[in-house]
Subunit: 346 residues, 2 copies
């Protein structure tokens, strides 16, 4: 097969981080941030594979990133998109050539070659060969959210408590976590925005839901903290509500921040709790986990994640599949459709 | 020797925590919080010793405690005071009886028997036999501050950086830490309030001082963070200044809060740093350390601490010694004298 020399991609208009006030994951138009235009097909460097993209996922982290709000600098002129699934069509190096012809899930994008394109070049070592029984829809988003859910659930398991609190509970990550919790006998206390989300999340495995607008929120939280004794707060919001939940939690609580949907910085009401109640505030970043975890730990995690999708224990809920060439116009609308995932296809 | 049945003490007027707005360590009058009055001499319970107090120290934690602002509930009618030195005059249990006649340093006070009295009953296991070469002035305050300094310095040693930042740098703890840092080849960056404190703290061992009112504070801090790469912020203040220092520190910084001199809760300006820069916020409490550390670790620490005082590497700077019977009137004035310790003697 002869490879083309150019391809189409959604390309970053700006480099670095943004100085503008943060607006979070919401996006009304891609025009300020992206162009749909031709780029040269990337050439795999040493140890890299070239992948023909089948499907790429759209995560909140992608939206933060293209707006320059993700804490990682953008590369102007590079394709956007962190994650997807595709077929390896070329490789540079022994392992890279071994992968040729295989369907792989991949994570890329920060260093200059993105998933929202027809082709992407990534390190062969970070590719995950996808079992044939797994759907593209599940494979395209099976690293960022599912591996994050799996590894953060390990934090819960090490906490010594059979309960934990999860903010932004109706996110893709929250839904994955609900199933993990139920299947392992843990009680997930999910904080959600809309009453209409409660039943579905409970059917997926959440033991308790707290609705942000509930006037009884504080009292219900206090009662659950007393009965369930959650010690981990997994938090994508990092706002004042999360700080107040953390304050209500019992001794030895850990506030693990992995996202910042809220744009206003939180105040810690009771710093004395850090001293006398042995509480801690820290972060979680999947990239860091990938750097620190052993190869065996990674393989075990990825096998566990794939098996959950193949068995049907996890299922990616897709609300829209948008063609790359239509994305400039259709993606913002698709993202407003609801609480499932949006996929991009070349 | 026949023991008396009553003694004089400074006795807590209120139980529990205070609901009033916090005012910190400053104290104008003891009247609202303490009475000087007779109490029964406490009887040692199982495993406890009775100590005839020689000298008790006045720490900021004592002042927080009597005001109900220390995070630990007061016991109404009990003697105040956490720490001192004295002679064991009675014991209940094998080890307690072995200690009879020995000079010991002790920590007590929270559970109902305090050091600001003629006698105190404490657990024999928590007493530290004091070497004869050690002065009462050094022994009376040789647990809370020096052991805290020693154990917090272990956090610095484990950080992988040869530098750390210390707020409230001219405190007793700051002075002890400066000597420890210099003698072990570490660069302490001390944050202090008054320019007049700088020279003395540097002579004790601080490598750098930052003065809070310095208009160049932020620029000097940024330069030191770049050149020294401190990874630990040891902080007794827990206010916005500390939060901003933490934000200016490099990746993997830990903000270790062990006191809260500031009464306004801090805002975390950049929660993203917890995620992407692997920063952490936590607390340190000596009581927790005492519960968790092994006996060998404790003995090693206490021997190390005593040897530093005996060799003269550490010296307790006493600005006033107040008689227990004069304390209601004289203690508030003595505490305003300056930056050394105030001692109470029966």
């Amino acid at each position: 097969m002869t490879l083309p020399t150019t391809m189409n991609a959604l390309v970053l208009k700006h480099g670095g981080l943004s100085d503008a006030p943060r607006t979070g994951a919401a996006i009304d138009s891609l025009e300020p941030y992206l162009d749909y235009c031709p780029l040269p097909v990337p050439r795999p460097g040493p140890g890299e594979v070239l992948i023909k993209v089948r499907m790429a996922s759209v995560n909140p982290s992608d939206l933060y990133f293209i707006k320059g709000e993700y804490g990682q600098p953008r590369v102007k002129g590079a394709a956007a998109g962190f994650e997807g699934v595709g077929d390896v069509v070329d490789g540079n190096g022994l392992y890279a050539r071994y992968l040729k012809g295989k369907r792989v899930a991949f994570v890329g994008g920060v260093a200059g070659s993105g998933a929202w394109a027809e082709y992407i070049a990534v390190s062969a070592a970070t590719c995950v060969v996808v079992k044939p029984a797994m759907r593209d829809e599940d494979a395209a988003g099976h690293v960022v959210n599912p591996v994050t859910a799996w590894t953060m659930f390990d934090i819960v398991r090490q906490s010594g408590s059979k309960s934990f609190i999860f903010t932004a509970g109706f996110s893709q990550l929250g839904k994955l976590m609900a199933g993990l919790a139920r299947d392992h006998g843990y009680s997930m206390i999910a904080v959600i925005r809309k009453p209409s989300q409660a039943a579905h999340l409970q059917s997926l495995g959440a033991a308790h839901v707290l609705i942000e607008s509930d006037p009884e929120f504080d009292a219900r939280l206090a009662a659950l903290c007393k009965s369930e004794k959650p010690r981990v707060l997994l938090d994508a919001v990092a706002g004042q509500r999360a700080a107040d939940i953390f304050t209500a939690m019992p001794a030895r609580a850990r506030w693990v921040i992995y996202g910042k949907l809220d744009t206003a910085p939180p105040t810690i009401p009771e710093t004395g709790q850090l001293i006398f109640m042995d509480k801690k505030i820290e972060g979680f970043w999947l990239t860091k986990w990938f750097k620190r975890a052993s190869l065996i730990e990674k393989l075990k995690t990825l096998r566990g994640v794939q098996n959950r999708f193949i068995s049907g224990a996890w299922k990616t809920e897709v609300v829209a599949t948008v063609k790359l060439s239509d994305a400039m116009q259709d993606l913002p609308e698709a993202l407003k459709l609801g609480d499932g995932k949006v996929m991009l296809v070349p």
